[in-house]
Amino acid sequence: MAEAVTTLSRLLIVREVRDNETGATISFHQGGHGCLSIHAANYASQLRYARRSQERQHPIGVRFADAHAIAELIRADNDVPAQVWEEGPDGVRVLFQGHDGVFRLKSDHPDSARIRTLLREALEQKARVWFVADNPDLVLLDILPATA
C-alpha cells in the first residue's frame, strides 16, 4: 500500500492554492491537501496546472510523495473512448477518439477494477472521461467521468 501511495497519480480538483516561502500548499475538493516544494522540477509549470484546475474546476493528476508532500502535478487530458479491449496479462488497451496511440491500463494497477468499469461505461455511452497518463508510454494512471 505504501508503494501505491508514493507512485500512483490520482485525478483531483484543486480547491485552493496558497503560496508560501517554501512553495505552495494545495487543497483539493476531494479532501486533503499537499505541499508542492518551490524546488520541485518545473515548479512554475506545475503551479500553473494547479491554478488552471482551480479556475476551471477540471481535474489534475496528483502524485504524492507522502501524505502531505506533492511529488508531481500532471496535466489531465480528456477524450471519448473509441475501443477498449483486454490484451493478455498486460491488462487493458484503450483507443480514444481524438488521441493518437494505444493507451494501456496495467493489470497490477490497484484501482484497475474501477477504471475498467468506468472505461466500459464510457465506451457504451460514448461519454467523455478525464484521464492522466504517463508519457511517452501512454500508461493510464487514473480516469474520472468528465461530468464528475
Binding site: 518545473n42 509549470s45 477524450d79 471519448v80 477518439q97 481524438g98 493518437d100
Partner: protein, 103 residues
C-alpha cells in the same frame, strides 16, 4: 513516416490536417499547395505531401471552418468531439507539455 531528426524512428498517426491554398507560381500557373510545417520547410504540391505520408491515406477536403468529417462531431481538431477546454486551448497546452518534456 520517418522523422528528420531521428531517421531510425517511424511516427504513425491516423488523422492529420493541413491547410491548402491555391498558389500562383513564377510561371503564372496556379497549383494547390499544402502548408504543413511538421513535414516540410516550405509549401508543397498536394501529391508530394500525400506521398510523404506513405500508406496512401484517404484525402478529405473541406471548406475553411468546416470539419473534414462532420459525422464525427467537433470542429475537426481531431476525429471526435472537441476537448472540453476547446481546441485552441487544448493544442496550446499540449504543446506546452511536449516542450516541457524536451527541456
Amino acid at each position: 513516416m520517418e522523422t528528420n531528426d531521428q531517421p531510425a524512428v517511424r511516427v504513425e498517426w491516423g488523422y492529420h490536417v493541413a491547410p491548402v491554398l491555391m498558389v500562383r507560381g513564377p510561371d503564372g500557373d496556379t497549383r494547390e499547395m499544402v502548408f504543413d510545417p511538421l513535414l516540410f520547410d516550405s509549401p508543397v504540391p498536394v501529391e508530394e505531401w500525400r506521398t510523404a505520408l506513405h500508406d496512401t491515406p484517404s484525402l478529405v477536403r473541406s471548406a475553411p471552418g468546416d470539419p473534414p468529417r462532420p459525422a464525427l462531431g467537433g470542429s475537426g481538431y481531431w476525429p471526435g468531439p472537441d476537448p472540453i477546454e476547446g481546441p485552441d486551448m487544448h493544442a496550446r497546452e499540449t504543446l506546452e507539455d511536449y516542450r516541457r518534456l524536451t527541456d
